[in-house]
Symmetry: C2
Subunit: 335 residues, 2 copies
Amino acid sequence: MAVTIKDVAKKANVSISTVSRVINDSKPVSDEIKHRVLKVIEETGYIPNPVARSLVMKKSQLIGVIVPNISNIFIGEVLNGIEEIGKMYNYDILLCNTYGELNQELRYLNLLKSKQVEGIIFMTWELQNEHKEFFAKEDIPIVMINRNASDANITSVSIDHRKAAYEMTKYLIKNGHRRIALIRGNMQNYIFGIDQYEGYSKAMKESNLEIDKRLIKNCEFKLDLAYNAVQEMINDETLSTAIFATTDYMAFGAINALIDNGYKVPEDVSVAGFNDIKLASIYRPKLTTIRQPIYDIGAVAIRVIIKKIKGEEIKDNVFVLPHELVERDSCKKIK
Amino acid sequence: MAVTIKDVAKKANVSISTVSRVINDSKPVSDEIKHRVLKVIEETGYIPNPVARSLVMKKSQLIGVIVPNISNIFIGEVLNGIEEIGKMYNYDILLCNTYGELNQELRYLNLLKSKQVEGIIFMTWELQNEHKEFFAKEDIPIVMINRNASDANITSVSIDHRKAAYEMTKYLIKNGHRRIALIRGNMQNYIFGIDQYEGYSKAMKESNLEIDKRLIKNCEFKLDLAYNAVQEMINDETLSTAIFATTDYMAFGAINALIDNGYKVPEDVSVAGFNDIKLASIYRPKLTTIRQPIYDIGAVAIRVIIKKIKGEEIKDNVFVLPHELVERDSCKKIK
DNA sequence: TTGTACGCGTTATCAC
DNA sequence: GTGATAACGCGTACAA
């Protein structure tokens, strides 16, 4: 059995309150006794039981993280940021994977609360009313990643997807492209897809370019759906000179379809991605894409959570991190 | 304040023990009272406080998972398996990222124990004596992933790396290659690298092929080091006709170096990988590689942990999962 | 079958 | 400065 505060107290000939005081520095203790206690702790290898501590403090040094897919590279990188900063502040991560299923998410939201986590970092593909209800009801610190959720009055951290999509579309137009396909996630409630679509269409309209509905493809972030979408355009003979995929992964799917049909990238078709996952510079041709500060997104999220836990007032409800258009080899200027 | 067992008891006009009994099914309770209690629980939305429960039961429904790098795709996929099966048994995951640093690992090992986790799944790049000491000292259920650790008397799940490397080398030899470079991780304590090297050299020796030390490169799993290693071989003019990388990632690094130097894969040089991460079939040329049942590795690991928790005897200390050589487009037969 | 009372390991509020 | 002691929310012998 592990050694408890009681054992230490007995061995040091003091009361448990005194021991508690020295380990928490909560009240003055005479130097002599302090040293004696410290020594006993040293000898016995005593570690305070965090569970008992949680029970009385109603704190746990735990932060719940809910994600739709752990094995997603983007999310892994976000997790890295969360974990690393959390560790600095002595917080541990309770990880929950939901595959984006609503009831799983709701279940975890409640479960985490009952586990006394001090805050929740929440990622989902689609923000729904049930989520918002939970957020409104509970007063536990929550931050969302990858979506401006100010409408639901919950704080969030992400880049400006609208602006980023706008810039990329603009870039393609500047390079002479007039028919630009957009390969994206779901239409509906999809968490940042709407912003991206707005950015895309704004750029198109500004240049008086027609938005061809046949070139807007919903591919649910899936590489093979992106592959099929391009295949479809080839079959339909609607293939454009440029393809903008809102995920690097989907961009790879697009490129593969092109290659497998004998097209060359970027000679015949330009393809742009979004995110700049590590793979983007590994793949050949190297992908022109929007770089998100993925690690930082996680890092900022947990910093905000910790601030909230400490009761510090957060002025902004929306943390917008900078992005960057990274020009590489998958896009080409045409006349 | 959340509703407690006491509130429920009062509202249902019974003692807390009775409430406890109905929620745990621990002792018979008359149907009438049972229903009454259940109804109150329903109405109040009572959820037992897991922290208090942990304190008295010395259990937590928590399983600690220590990994060297969350954003590694392979590990993400393993995590998927762990999470999904864990969820089935009502276990949550306490995630710890160590970057493979020994003191971080040791710290977490102790921390997790004090957090009352019921079992630990441990991944590391190198198994060291300090780890073994911990395992020997503590009686908490532990399983290691990706290494046959039977020497340390701890149970593990992985594929047979030795055999897999042997088969791949054999395959390359069968395809006419006689000089085969091996791009691998560290030499020393490296967790499965030794096995892989043995497989490689066994195959080479069986065919009376010389092992050219200049073709054995230690690249620490890093894509760019693999890139450099191949660049080196090109500069040294020691380039072989085949390259076997013990990680798909390193294989990509190798291929990129080849491409960037004007070589064609597989026409000029064959390249084989290891793991079959999703990317392997996305990349062009599609990678010939060893498929590991990554998800299953995680799933089996947590299943074993849960069995151990339940006190069931584990007959084998080593769980070897099947692998498979996947032939794709990155290797070619030469005369 | 049901209720009482104690213990799990801490922190915090009192007295001293 | 120090030590009892009551919480925290729950499970469980023990009694009834």
